[in-house]
């Protein structure tokens, strides 16, 4: 954590400086959190909604931030919970349709003007969508964001050992998916 992050965290306790400090922290963490969410929900519009909810929850719940974890870790936790509840709500709304929510996400991705990947990258996204939600989260965090297992352990409140095993398992499944596609 940089000196300015520490300073901003301290300013959050001062009611006069609170809004300014929080805005500065939004600017500091918005990109990281956006990509964390976007990799799970895939569409830009959905990622934008979840990101707004994340910061709004953070702002309204500032008194719940006890300072025993880093502010970024706390925001990551909120973003993760918001993303998972967004997906579970989507799943509930999707119950009546024939396809799964993953099919839905993939279909939207293929027609999304904000998707700029090549065929191999699209195939990777398809493979990632075959993973269970929590494993998808672990895979994305490790593979694309290169977050350490210790940091991930703090965010997801799961042991590093379990996260390592989950990531390893996810990689195997994705490789298997690629091999099956080849056959």
């Amino acid at each position: 954590m940089t000196a300015s992050e520490t300073e901003l965290q301290l300013q959050l306790k001062d009611s006069h400086k609170r809004a300014g400090a929080f805005s500065a922290l939004v600017r500091l963490y918005q990109e990281r959190l956006y990509w964390h969410i976007r990799k799970m929900v895939l569409s830009h519009e959905d990622a934008n909604d979840v990101l707004q909810n994340t910061f709004m929850k953070g702002w309204n719940g500032l008194d719940n931030f006890r300072g025993d974890a880093q502010f970024s870790t706390w925001l990551y936790r909120i973003a993760t919970n918001e993303t998972l509840s967004f997906l579970s709500n989507k799943r509930l709304r999707n119950l009546q349709s024939l396809g799964s929510i993953e099919d839905n996400l993939l279909h939207n991705l293929q027609s999304d003007s904000h998707f700029i990947g090549n065929e191999a990258q699209l195939k990777l996204q398809k493979a990632i969508l075959t993973l269970p939600e929590k494993q998808r989260l672990v895979f994305n965090m490790k593979y694309f964001e290169e977050i350490t297992y210790d940091q991930m352990s703090e965010i997801l409140e799961t042991s590093s050992g379990a996260l390592k095993a989950s990531y390893h398992h996810a990689v195997k499944k994705i490789e298997k998916y690629f091999n099956e596609e080849l056959d």
Partner: protein, 103 residues
């Protein structure tokens, strides 16, 4: 058709983009939103006020229950007096009053 690639060959670059100036706009809009809204937080004073209100509530309720109990006791006493008087005939009552006034 592209041949299947391994994870290493695909790389870790994300295949998504965001609209131009998205992050600048997001931060500015959010700044405006929170400038209008103060965070919801329960102050210490508010906490004390709610505790005091709870005690006042308990006292008022206690008072009401006590009054109700008191009224019932008075009613019981009145009923008992009426019951006793019913058992005594008028001649004995007059006798009793005359005796008391002569003492």
């Amino acid at each position: 058709m592209e041949p299947n690639k391994t994870l290493e060959q695909i790389g870790t670059e994300l295949p998504f983009k965001v609209p131009e100036n998205y992050f600048d706009q997001f931060a500015s809009q959010f700044e405006e939103t929170i400038a209008a809204k103060k965070p919801r937080h329960i102050t210490l004073r508010k906490k004390w006020m709610s505790i005091a209100a709870m005690f006042i509530g308990i006292l008022v309720l206690g008072q009401l229950l006590y009054k109700l109990y008191d009224k019932q006791t008075v009613n019981k006493q009145d009923n008992y007096e009426a019951y006793v008087l019913m058992q005594v005939d008028e001649a004995s009552l007059v006798d009793c009053y005359v005796n008391n006034s002569s003492k």
